[in-house]
């Protein structure tokens, strides 16, 4: 049987708090379903083999590479992408901190980096520099913003500890 002949399976994914029912091939990656079927373009393909972190999403509270998860494996799990990080029109403390520290360059790695920071700060509100380095070690940034990511993660942690999780987006 060629791959085109595999029957599609109907699955329901909970993405950013909302249930979506989609038809997928058994070999389809979560990355492709999120990006091309649900239009969540923050989820980007870099290496396609779990090494760059650009496609990182949070699945049931754990940071995972969506290029290495089959869509069918995500059935019944809660998935968070960058699009679901804030209410409409708001900036998350992590995004604010990245802007404040001028970490943004080309921005391709940002969705993955932000999800990695979110995963870290959810379990550790006051991380040390070593802990930040370790948490971001699976995210490659070819512009080389790594040192600013560390500053931004510390700043974001500070904002969140003060209760400032969301900021107005001024465009």
């Amino acid at each position: 049987m060629s791959t085109e002949e595999y029957p599609e399976i109907e699955i329901t994914l909970n993405v950013n708090g909302k249930d979506y029912t989609v038809k997928v091939k058994p070999y389809e990656r979560l990355l492709d379903v999120l990006r091309y079927k649900l239009g969540l373009t923050s989820v980007k393909e870099g290496c396609g083999r779990g090494e760059c972190g650009t496609c990182a999403v949070i699945m049931d509270g754990k940071l995972v590479a969506s290029c290495l998860v089959l869509a069918v494996q995500a059935r019944g799990k809660k998935i968070l992408t960058l699009e679901g990080l804030t209410p409409p029109g708001k900036l998350h403390a992590i995004q604010k901190a990245l802007l404040d520290t001028y970490a943004m360059q080309c921005g391709f790695c940002f969705p993955g980096v932000i999800m990695a920071m979110k995963s870290l700060l959810d379990r550790n509100p006051d991380p040390t520099e070593d802990e930040i380095r370790e948490a971001l070690s699976g995210n490659l940034c070819r512009c080389g913003s790594y040192l600013r990511f560390i500053k931004a993660a510390k700043l974001a942690a500070e904002y969140i500890r003060k209760g400032q999780v969301y900021f107005e987006f001024k465009g």
Binding site: G50, G53, Q73, A116, A135, S137, G138
Partner: protein
């Protein structure tokens, strides 16, 4: 084949009749929650975790998969060789237990039938006075295959090497293996840096083949192998004697 539906059934660490059994779908992150990362005898598992892939892969990779790919970068495979691990294979025809050493015959080649699944990994519980260590060297800390990886399981009695098992990412095949002649040389001797030095200068080079490639020369790899053998043995001894 997607086995994720069996995750609940095949993700566990259990003590059974003097053995420790790890379900094939147990991830490094799952292992980190168990006693294997806290008991000083099994801290080799903790060492692997610290250098395993990257945080984004630790909830996805499985110990069964690490063995199944059967390459020199299979860190759990290297380490489990020092624990004399066996693998339970299950198929519709029944189940059988095969030693890890016999199961992995060459790079990406397992001595199992296509319909057999890796079900669990079993190894004997370590008595007191044993400990383990694992080390990997590369240019970075994570997302690395390692120029060299080394794992040891050591028993010390009255400062003598009562038992020792040493595994490397490669010994004389393209898969992880044990340096058994070096182990035999070390057994029963006084634990000292001089003894280890004697072992890695006199015995070890005769049983290990280190090849050159675009990442490192064979000469450099052999030198690193000796260094890591010493460091892992010292680390394991420190864990036995000082508990750290």
């Amino acid at each position: 084949m997607d086995l994720s539906g069996l995750k609940d059934k095949l993700s566990y660490v259990r003590k059974v009749n003097g053995n420790i059994a790890i379900g094939a779908l147990t991830t490094p992150e799952d292992l980190a929650e168990t006693f294997l990362h806290k008991d000083k005898k099994y801290l080799g598992f903790y060492d692997i975790y610290k250098k395993f892939a990257s945080p984004i892969l630790k909830p996805l990779a499985t110990i069964g998969g690490n063995i199944g790919v059967a390459v020199s970068a299979s860190d759990y495979l290297t380490f489990l060789l020092t624990l004399n691990a066996k693998v339970k294979l299950v198929s519709v025809e029944g189940e059988r237990l095969v030693s890890l050493e016999e199961l992995v015959v060459e790079k990406r080649t397992l001595a199992k039938d296509p319909n057999e699944l890796i079900y669990e990994i079993i190894f004997p519980e370590l008595p007191e006075n044993y400990s383990t260590a694992f080390m990997k060297i590369d240019r970075r800390e994570v997302i690395i295959t390692g120029y060299i990886t080394t794992a040891v399981c050591l028993k010390i009695e009255d400062n003598k090497i009562a038992d020792v098992r040493i595994a490397f990412d490669r010994v004389n095949k393209r898969i992880p293996g044990r340096a058994k002649k070096t182990e035999e040389f070390l057994k029963g001797k006084e634990f000292s840096v001089d003894t280890i030095r004697e072992a890695y200068n006199k015995v070890f080079p005769a049983e290990i083949v280190r090849k050159s490639d675009f990442r490192a020369s064979g000469e450099y790899r052999l030198d690193l192998s000796k260094v890591l053998m010493k460091r892992t043995l010292l680390q394991a001894k420190s864990r036995i004697v000082e508990g750290v």
